[in-house]
Amino acid sequence: MDAILAQLLNGLDKGGAYALIALGLTLVFGTLGVVNFAHGALFMLGCFCAVVFRYLLTIETVTIDPEQLSPWGAPVELRTPLVQDWLGDWGAFLVDYSVPLSVLFAVPVMLVIGIVMERGLIKHFYKRSHAEQILVTFGLAIVLQEIVKSFFGANPMPQPIPSDLRSAADVGAWFGMEAHTLTYPTWRLVYLLFSLGVIGAVFAFMRYTTFGMVVRAGMADRETVGVLGIDIDRRFTIIFGIAAVVAGVAGAMYTPLLAPNYQIGMDFLVLSFVVVVVGGMGSLPGAVVAGFLLGILQSFASMNEITSIIPGIDQVIIYLVAIVILLVRPRGLMGRSGVMES
């Protein structure tokens, strides 16, 4: 039983990341009708927002101590982060919590990146075929990757979890189980809560703001929204920006779990499309449900009981599910009928 609960938790925390990325992708497809193959790159850029933020926080002063020599005869360098110099303990705290704080940095940065991407490139492709959109956005993704690689190199740059959150939480104890029967890394639980929070914020925005209402209407019936005098194209820029922010903060918070490098976007890109296909291309709730579902499936499929029967199933299960859905119900679990069915 504990084994199953542990795998469930694992599935939920992975699923959170999948759901967030798919959410942004669906927003862009559902309103703009654009298939955005640069979406994974947005996740990657979010990761690097965390990297850059930490780098800025840890700019150090280096003093050389000529008295001390390292074992191989070079003088020892004493490094102190500037922030710590200025702000003392507070500074150390900021550095320690650089990853969650980087979310605050990532939001405006990703918003600007999204807006620039949309105004600069994407908007010229609204009326073009999906094939052309794919080519252009994929090309953009590669360019972004290479830019990141030239600045940051090819090595992964792991980001640390804040020191208080590094242990495993005794989840079992919260639910009255015996101590230490069900533990799970604290940061992963934090990530799960974070993703639920962001998802909740997006849905609240869609439901309770006028802008959100216009976006929902645009996703349901773009033509009629124009008939009612609304210039939805102008709002597209903001929507794209929001999608970029959602993907970006998902990336920033994920950096301690998976050390980011320039290629991480591509890995998540394929996955995000699978999630969106399963959930339904135009459906926001579909994207979220499918994200969690596939995360859980993948996690359970890697249980030893299952891999001993079908080895390697955990690698392919989400793609198998996607194939089945495409064959049996092409509109996805919650998609509108007609999308993808032609």
Binding site: M213, V214, E223, V225, V227, G229
Partner: protein, 249 residues
């Protein structure tokens, strides 16, 4: 395909002509649907746009409303001196052209009230929502109900109310009685009558030619995308020959 853009008002536009179509041609992709239509509408009048199925009536309305399809390839559309033919659909709506589409197009996933609020997001509003609820108490009762769960007649009411929520200079009604039971048709007729009494300039497309002609001041008949008759509505109602020839009634 290029739209012939001429910003100058043509000389022959008469003083009290409110709205004109000048030799407009429109295509659905490769398909030539509106084949050179010229007509005018005077302020405050109701014009019936009649013809058999497939004659191009709905396409003409959609072209006037500047929807993406059918695409206007040449010709001009003028409303009170404004060049409509260069506009996009949202601009046309802001300029005062309001389309009540053939299939009503109530937005799914939104309540009655949200559908009305949506109509007032863009500038140039018409009636306030309170006014709408006064005139359509049934909609007020169902204000928090999802729009697409309303009955056919109520959805039609909502579609018209949505248009009224915007500032209307020219109302385009596309088959307002379609698919409704006769009892409901009467209700909608009353609403359209109310619109007429308020002097709202209207073009009405309707299969039920008799009902349309009873309401209208003038009528035009389309056949295969071309205009084949213009005249007084009452006269057309009497003229059996014409009616049989073009309307099969």
């Amino acid at each position: 395909m290029n739209i012939a853009v001429a910003e100058n008002k043509p000389a022959e536009v008469a003083g009290d002509v409110f709205f004109t179509l000048q030799d407009i041609h429109a295509y659905y992709g490769e398909s030539y649907i509106v084949q050179g239509i010229t007509l005018e509408v005077r302020k405050g009048e109701i014009l019936a746009l009649l013809g058999r199925n497939g004659a191009g009536k709905t396409s003409t309305l959609r072209t006037i409303a500047r929807l993406d399809d059918p695409a206007l390839t040449s010709g001009q559309i003028w409303l009170e001196g404004q060049a409509i033919h260069t506009m996009k659909s949202f601009e046309a709506s802001q300029a005062g052209i309001q389309l009540v589409p053939e299939d009503r197009r109530i937005i799914p996933g939104m309540t009655v009230e949200e559908n009305l609020i949506l109509a007032q997001v863009a500038p140039n509003r018409g009636w306030s929502i309170e006014e709408i609820y006064e005139h359509f108490p049934r909609l007020a009762e169902r204000r928090l109900q999802e729009g697409t769960t309303l009955s056919g007649g109520e959805q039609q009411m909502l579609a018209v109310a949505r248009a009224l929520a915007r500032d209307i200079k020219l109302l385009l009604l596309d088959e307002p009685y379609e698919g409704l039971a006769p009892v409901i048709v009467q209700e909608i007729e009353r609403i359209v009558q109310g619109i007429k009494e308020r002097g709202i300039t209207t073009i009405i497309v309707e299969q039920n030619a008799v009902a349309a002609l009873r309401l209208s001041d003038r009528a035009v008949i389309l056949d295969s995308g071309e205009l084949v008759h213009t005249g007084d509505a009452a006269e057309l109602l009497e003229n059996k020959e014409l009616r049989e020839k073009y309307l099969a009634i």
